[in-house]
């Protein structure tokens, strides 16, 4: 905890965003797969789930990145 605040935030951001993106896609796809299995509409829900999962992951990354205090890149823009 004696690490620099920015460094810690950056590390947290990096570790967080990577898994969040993958897991979102994975969850979307799995949910689509489950719905397909339930309704018997083989690939369609899974495809939709894949896309939605990707969207969810990107949205999450976007939100987290917007929350990150940008010190270097653009002055004070949040």
């Amino acid at each position: 905890m004696s690490e620099d605040n920015d460094f810690r935030r950056g590390m947290g951001f990096a570790f967080r965003v990577g898994t969040e993106l993958v897991v979102s896609v994975f969850v979307g796809t799995t949910m689509g797969y489950a719905l397909d299995w339930f309704f018997g509409t083989k690939p369609w829900f899974m495809v939709a789930g894949l896309i939605l999962g990707g969207a969810a992951g990107s949205l999450m990354v976007y939100k987290v990145a917007m929350h990150l205090p940008s010190g270097e890149d653009e002055d004070g823009e949040r």
Binding site: M1, E3, R8, M11, G12, F15, R16, T19, E20, V22, V23, S24, F26, V27, G28, M31, G49, L52, G53, A55, A56, G57, L59, M60
Partner: protein, 243 residues
């Protein structure tokens, strides 16, 4: 050479069977208890000094960490609301940190490298956030599925996306911690196995690497505990403040 994953296997030390459930105590649980005991006695020792306003070394370290957690809670949950959850968040942090660190002692075990454990914690936190959300906001809580400022046409698209990201939260929370701990320990085990099996002339090289990786692992133990705790704060804060 045995599998580098071999040391993740657990064998019961004390067999306990309760209502058909196997609740045997094994190495992982003992290591976890050791970590917990260290945490508890550190805090006990730090808090013992009465009357003096100048903190000792240990006390100031723990105070800085508590202050840091308090800042985190205040940032993500809120100043007044955060007080209720401070103890819980701090316990999460120190529990995970102690579990991560105790696993770096050779021969012990990291309980956070078990996906079922991290998953159980993540699901408990997830359920907790749902309970908090529903008790605070009632039916209005469902509006968390619709982000503010989204046009009406987009709502059918946003709801599944938000559901996916809600469900992804506990999974990513648990998988991240599990994966980082497992990976680090596997690398350490492989290097250590190499150091043991190679001749003395070459054996020092992987051994030196082991030390370097160990240092890295300590940093990762802190970072992962920090991330798990931060995200717990964020999730609780999200359901309390609803956008």
């Amino acid at each position: 050479m045995e599998s580098p994953l071999h040391h993740f296997e657990l064998h019961p030390l004390v067999e306990i069977n309760f209502l058909g459930l196997d609740l045997s105590i094994n190495k992982a649980i003992l290591a976890m208890w050791a970590g917990m005991a260290i945490v508890f006695f550190l805090f006990k020792a730090a808090g013992r000094k009465e009357g003096s306003l100048i903190p000792g070394k240990l006390q100031s370290v723990l105070e800085v960490s508590l202050e840091f957690i308090r800042g985190m809670v205040e940032e993500f949950i809120g100043k007044e609301e955060g007080k209720k959850y401070f103890s819980f968040i701090a316990t999460v942090f120190f529990f995970i940190l102690a579990s991560n660190l105790i696993g770096l002692v050779p021969g012990s075990y990291t309980i956070t490298s078990q996906l079922v454990v991290t998953g159980a914690f993540a699901i408990c936190i997830f359920i907790m956030t749902l309970v908090i959300g529903f008790t605070r906001h009632g039916g209005h809580f469902f509006s968390i599925l619709v982000p503010p400022g989204v046009p009406k046409i987009m709502v059918p698209l946003m709801v599944p996306i938000e559901i996916i990201s809600m469900i992804a939260r506990p999974i990513s929370l648990s998988v991240r911690l599990f994966a980082n701990m497992t990976a680090g320990h596997t690398v350490l085990a492989v290097l250590f196995g190499l150091a043991m099996s190679a001749s003395l002339a070459l054996g020092w090289m992987p051994f030196a690497f082991t030390i370097v990786i160990n240092g890295l692992e300590i940093a990762i133990a802190f970072i992962q505990a920090y991330i798990f705790t931060t995200l717990t704060c964020v999730y609780i804060g999200d359901v309390i403040n609803l956008h």
